[in-house]
């Protein structure tokens, strides 16, 4: 079953800047789809539209069979519980003045009617829940009382991932989640995402310019260029001769 269907989506920022041009694709439950492209290809615009941070002019987005309105401030409460996002800049995604445990619990406080399955018993304190979340992403529970400034970039990104999965979303959108991290840390974060996806059966939309990272995590890939989708294929077909010339050029630039 398709969890997300994007049909003919177009986004125009100004007269001369069309960020997305008639983009259509769908996302199956439990799969991980990679979106590859250079800067300016519309990758981040797509992510921001899907999470409801940007409006769009044309086309339709359907999530779990209900339409998502094109307006920015549309009523998205239920939708946002099910669609969470991880941004590139791990530091600015956390409030520097809140200890980690408070930042971690914000989504659960906003959706207090929801009890995630990792809370198996009643009567857990907020701290206990935060520590459980830290455990899910491989962080030590003593980080709960620290502030973002005391954590490394990789640790901060793990906190962001923990917070994103706390509502047990069906779809996780990752916009260049490893681009500002050291290579050794990048692998750890990607491995974590892969494990979480398998454990929790989350669908992942993984946006990156790093074709190596995309082939590590994703089974299916779409290629954006200047706002248009120029190619779409299963990972196994990456080297097929019918690949678009732009895909080939990207692959060639990344190859050793």
């Amino acid at each position: 079953m398709s969890i997300l269907v994007v049909d003919n989506l177009s986004k125009q920022y100004s007269k001369n800047l069309q960020a997305l041009k008639q983009l259509s694709f769908s996302l199956e439950q439990g799969e991980s789809l990679g979106v590859v492209g250079e800067s300016g290809s519309g990758k981040s615009t797509l992510a921001r539209i899907l999470i409801g941070l940007e409006s769009y002019q044309e086309g339709a987005i359907t999530f779990q069979e209900s339409p998502i309105a094109p307006k920015k401030r549309a009523p998205l409460r239920a939708y946002r519980k099910n669609v969470q996002m991880i941004f590139q800049d791990a530091a600015s995604a956390l409030n520097p003045k809140l200890p980690i445990w408070k930042s971690l619990l914000e989504p659960l406080k906003n959706y207090s009617e929801f009890t995630p399955s990792f809370i198996e018993v009643d009567g857990l304190s907020d701290k206990d829940i935060a520590e459980k979340l830290l455990g899910l992403v491989g962080l030590d529970s003593n980080l709960a009382d620290r502030y973002p400034g005391e954590l490394s970039g990789g640790q901060k990104q793990r906190v962001n991932i923990a917070r994103a999965i706390s509502l047990e979303p069906s779809l996780l959108i990752c916009d260049e989640p490893t681009a500002s991290l050291d290579v050794t840390v990048q692998v750890q974060i990607l491995t974590l995402l892969k494990e979480l996806q398998q454990q929790l059966n989350i669908t992942i939309l993984f946006i990156s310019h790093d074709i190596r990272a995309v082939t590590f995590l994703c089974e299916r890939i779409i290629v954006l260029k200047e706002g248009s989708m120029v190619d779409q294929f299963e990972l196994d077909d990456l080297y097929k001769s019918r690949r678009n010339s732009y895909t080939k050029a990207l692959l060639d630039a990344a190859s050793l």
Binding site: D182, V183, T184, V185, S255
Partner: protein
């Protein structure tokens, strides 16, 4: 190394509070060699480059030797050092937007730079500037007459490189020059640097955290970790026969493309 251009002997740097930042670096770069300095943030890569360029903050304590063509750079006066920079040792930074003044056209700035180091007429400098811009694969006339903001990031970075290379330096320090660029623009930039060093025998010190890039372009790799070089050697050796645990960790963190996965399992078979 008989054709050694730069030799760093036991270079140490301490912060004002006495904290060791570089712990006895030894390094040799030959003429025309592409040497990669690789390591994670905070490992001391850029600090090493800054020591060579003589642009460290005054309060840092520097010891050891940096021999460039046999002269110890650490013993030069400020003025002697200044004359060396640009003309002998060129530098390209990660942040290409800082390479040009925003409100002066690229061509104007190139002429100024060239004429600071070479006693030639404006006309000759213009020709030299247009030539190097053309060599970088840019539309030379257009770039020459543009302000930096009228060009893409990749174009500005290539213009910055061509300005540096117009002075025909013997050594080029590239500090994360492709980090702010797209993959494809980054490749273009590296291709050009590689071509230039083959043609002019200019040595390149490539500072990067990108392992794939180091594998692809460098002759030799120096792996830095916490202020020390933990391993160095020809790129092939570091890639396939590394010894140090940190190098092993670093090399194993390069995600492979599907084709390389098959290739590396084949390599595994051969090595048994």
């Amino acid at each position: 190394m008989s054709n050694s251009l730069l030799t760093v002997n036991n270079l140490t740097i301490e912060s004002r509070s006495g904290e060791p930042l570089l712990k006895g670096i030894n390094m040799e770069i030959g003429r025309g060699e592409m040497a990669a300095l690789i390591g994670e943030s905070g490992s001391g890569k850029s600090l090493t480059a800054r020591a060579i360029l003589g642009i460290l903050p005054d309060e840092m304590k520097v010891n050891g030797q940096i021999l460039y063509k046999g002269r110890d750079l650490l013993k030069l006066s400020e003025n002697e050092h200044r004359l060396l920079l640009g003309k002998e040792i060129g530098i390209i930074f990660q942040d290409y937007r800082g390479s040009f003044t925003p409100y002066i056209k690229i061509g104007q700035q190139m002429i100024e730079t060239i004429r600071t180091h070479q006693r030639i007429s404006k006309k000759a400098a213009k020709e030299a500037a247009l030539l190097v811009l053309r060599e970088t694969g840019l539309e030379s006339e257009r770039v020459y007459n543009s302000y930096p903001f009228q060009l893409s990031g990749g174009q500005v970075q290539r213009a910055a490189i061509s300005m540096t290379l117009a002075l025909r330096p013997n050594m080029l320090i590239c500090d994360e020059v492709t980090t702010a660029l797209d993959l494809m623009n980054g490749e273009k930039v590296l291709k050009y640097i590689d071509k230039a060093r083959r043609e002019t025998d200019c040595a390149v010190m490539m500072i990067t955290h990108d392992l794939a890039q180091a594998y692809k372009w460098s002759d030799r790799m120096h792996v830095m970790y916490q202020g020390a070089i933990v391993e160095d050697g020809p790129t092939e050796q570091i890639r396939f026969h590394h010894q140090h645990p940190y190098t092993r960790k670093l090399c194993s963190s390069l995600l492979s493309l599907p084709k390389e996965r098959k290739a590396s399992s084949a390599e595994g078979v051969y090595s048994i």
